[in-house]
């Protein structure tokens, strides 16, 4: 059997190979660095809402059956890849075979997400690794050919990131919240001033209410802008808009709608009041003001003493989650749940009750379950 498998894996070395990638991001890189004789396909693109629960169609299975190489990210495919490879019955691409390429070995992942496409270093590193793998498929093409393809691709990558920086220049210095770990990866790469990640996991869904709660939290933290992916849930988008939070929409991944780097740059859109961002930018550039005098403070008294309330704390309870109440009473209705160990912002205090938010939910809990941040 081992000999038979060896014979079939040796069959990879052919003039025209079928390369199947799990998503469009890898497809785009492979398309740019592979030789043109190969047939390259992808399975999931950005139109798939939940790639984690994706079910491969019959056509995908047939594609995998014909594949000489299958390249995947090793993240969102975990739930369906085992069965898909079983159905595809292709000895060239099962785990351990030469044609099975899991790129999670080669690049770093932020919060388990697979959004490497917005990291210049990861894209280049991946291109070099994939180029090395693809080279073995095409003995007819020289080393120089692959080097030329790589250098062309690298210059396109550099151009893309410089164009991105130019488009995002107006948002430099503005405090932003990011919608998901993937978007946060993008924002960090672009050196924007990211202060908050709203979703903890990439496949978490956001509702209108969650968006409104997040917006309230952002206002408390004086964050006027949220960076969201282009395929954000409609309800959540309405939630941010109705709360007066500006949104900067970026394409989350390449795909049918954004087939190349240049379309990503043109696909970035801003919604909201741009004027609100200006004071913060000026504030950042302005020198630190001198201390105010006591009599000036007394002319405009604050609504509540901020030093007492605007603090962070950690949920410290023997229970894994705490019920948030909508009023400071133990008999009040439930306003959500908050996990133990979670960092929260203290918004208000009444007797032994404190009003807290973690950015998604807002409600009252007993002060005994909270430990203030020093």
């Amino acid at each position: 059997m081992a000999m038979m498998i060896g014979i079939f894996t040796a069959g990879i070395i052919s003039a025209s190979a079928v390369i199947v990638t799990s998503n469009y991001d890898i497809y785009y890189i492979v398309k740019n660095i592979a030789d043109p004789s190969h047939q390259i396909y992808y399975i999931v693109d950005e139109t798939v809402n939940d790639p984690y629960s994706f079910s491969p169609l019959e056509s995908h299975i047939r594609l995998l059956n014909r594949a000489d190489v299958f390249i995947h990210t090793g993240t969102f495919e975990r739930r369906w890849i085992g069965e898909a490879l079983w159905l595809a019955r292709n000895p060239k691409i099962v785990e351990g075979a030469v044609g099975h390429v899991d790129i999670s070995k080669y690049i770093r992942y932020l919060n388990g997400s697979h959004c490497f496409i917005y990291s210049k270093e990861d894209v280049k590193k991946l291109a070099i690794i994939l180029s090395g793998i693809l080279k073995k498929l095409s003995p007819d093409f020289s080393e120089e050919f692959y080097q030329k393809r790589l250098s062309e691709f690298f210059s396109e990558v550099d151009k893309f990131f410089s164009e991105l920086s130019a488009v995002l220049l107006p948002y430099m210095g503005v405090k932003v919240a990011t919608y998901s770990p993937c978007v946060n990866n993008f924002v960090t790469q672009m050196k924007l001033n990211s202060e908050l990640i709203l979703k903890k996991r990439e496949n978490e869904t956001f509702s209108y209410r969650a968006a409104r709660d997040s917006a309230e939290f952002m206002k408390k933290m004086n964050i006027p802008l949220v960076v969201v992916p282009h395929n954000i849930e409609r309800d959540a988008e309405i939630g941010f808009m109705s709360a007066g939070i500006a949104t900067l929409k970026i394409p989350a991944h390449l795909g049918k709608k954004f087939p190349d780097f240049s379309s990503v740059v043109s696909g970035i859109s801003f919604t909201g009041d741009a004027e609100k961002l200006v004071p913060q930018r000026e504030e950042m550039s302005r020198p630190i003001p001198p201390k105010t005098f006591a009599h000036e403070i007394t002319t405009i008294p604050p609504e509540r003493p901020p030093a007492e309330i605007q603090k962070y704390g950690y949920i410290t309870s023997r229970y894994s989650s705490i019920i948030l109440r909508d009023r400071p009473q133990s008999t009040a209705g439930q306003a959500g749940k908050i996990m133990g160990g979670q960092k929260v912002l203290i918004l208000d205090k009444q007797n032994e009750w404190v009003k807290v938010t973690d950015g998604k939910s807002i409600g009252w809990i007993r002060s005994s379950v909270i430990t203030m941040e020093e």
Binding site: M1, M4, I5, F8, N49, D50, S53, S55, L57, E58, S59, H60, I61, R62, L63, N65, R78, R79, W80, G82, E83, L85, W86, R89, N90, P91, I93, V94, E95, G96, A97, T205
Partner: protein, 385 residues
Amino acid sequence: MSRGVVETCLTCLRVPFFILVFHIIGVLQLFAEVDFSVKGNSLFASFLGRNNYWMFAIRNLELEAKGSRGYFFLKGSFDVNPYTLSFFTESIAVEQTSVRDFFSTPSRTLYSADTIEDIIRIKELFVSTRGLPFVRVTMGRFYGAIGNLNQEKFWDRWFVERPFTIRNFFGIDGFLDEGLEISLFPPLPWSLEFIYQVFDGSEKPWGSRGSFEFVNLISIRNTFGQEPVNGGFGLFWCTGKNNSADRLDSKGTAIVSPAENFTEFFGGDAFFNLGEIFSARVGYIIKRESIPQILRVEGGLFSEFVVRPIDFFAAGIRPEIFGIPRNVFPEGGGVVSRPQIADISISATFLPTDYVRLRLQWTGNFSEAALPQNIFYLQAMFNLF
């Protein structure tokens, strides 16, 4: 393949039921990358016409786990027996066709659950090879390769139940049994699959021993085209003997008639998909049952048409005719024609999120020899992860 080898393989499956249930996850843990999913389905149905009552049932509360490692794939799923979790307004005349679908056997008491076997059923449990060139061998409990609709589970269907023809021949859970499968997949530009399955057709409960009655199944499947437009067809022939005509509870589903009889099924189905927007399926299954000196022939033609114009809504219509032909050739000669049944279902499925589905369905069952039966379904499904 010799009978002795097949018997040995099938005997391996006959270990006590509870050991299987409690060890299934342990076995799966041996595999890397075990994936669990929990799916559930509750159903409210109102019957009007031939019978008048309503029922509520928790159906298909199902835990599924699958894992793969190297050249092996393992899948197991078990669910709560819906017959122990159904609530009716009155006792039902179970011989009525449209009602029988909801019961295991006419003699079964609705609310009794004496053993764990009555509550939890193993649906599928098989180990299969993966990535061997051209061939795949599967052993365990799995669905018979009679077209595509038999193997579809509730989460993937656009109607509450399988087509009436399949339910009538093989039971509400479709054709599902313990056995061995060898499937060949020649390297062709399109997808062609030859399948041979042998099932244990005897009605022996889990853990008991007895003689085997084999059910043999041969199937050919073909699929053409790529995404988004693709289609295909499949043909099958199935024959064998077993001891029971109705084995819906712990053991499996009816495939053939009593032991002294000989039954064969043949038929096929075809499908066409236009992306997710439109899909159509047509199938025909005929059964020839020879009771000594008497031959019964009955066939069912079924079709499904589903449109999904937007992501969160799909509508489907499923017209079927059961009884073309529906003849009995008695001992003394001549032909007796039995009444035909027309069954039509119209469903509307709402998909508000990736994890929840809601369905409204009307099914009309019209027999030439009985009053019409209308069934209104309200179905709620979830797929946790």
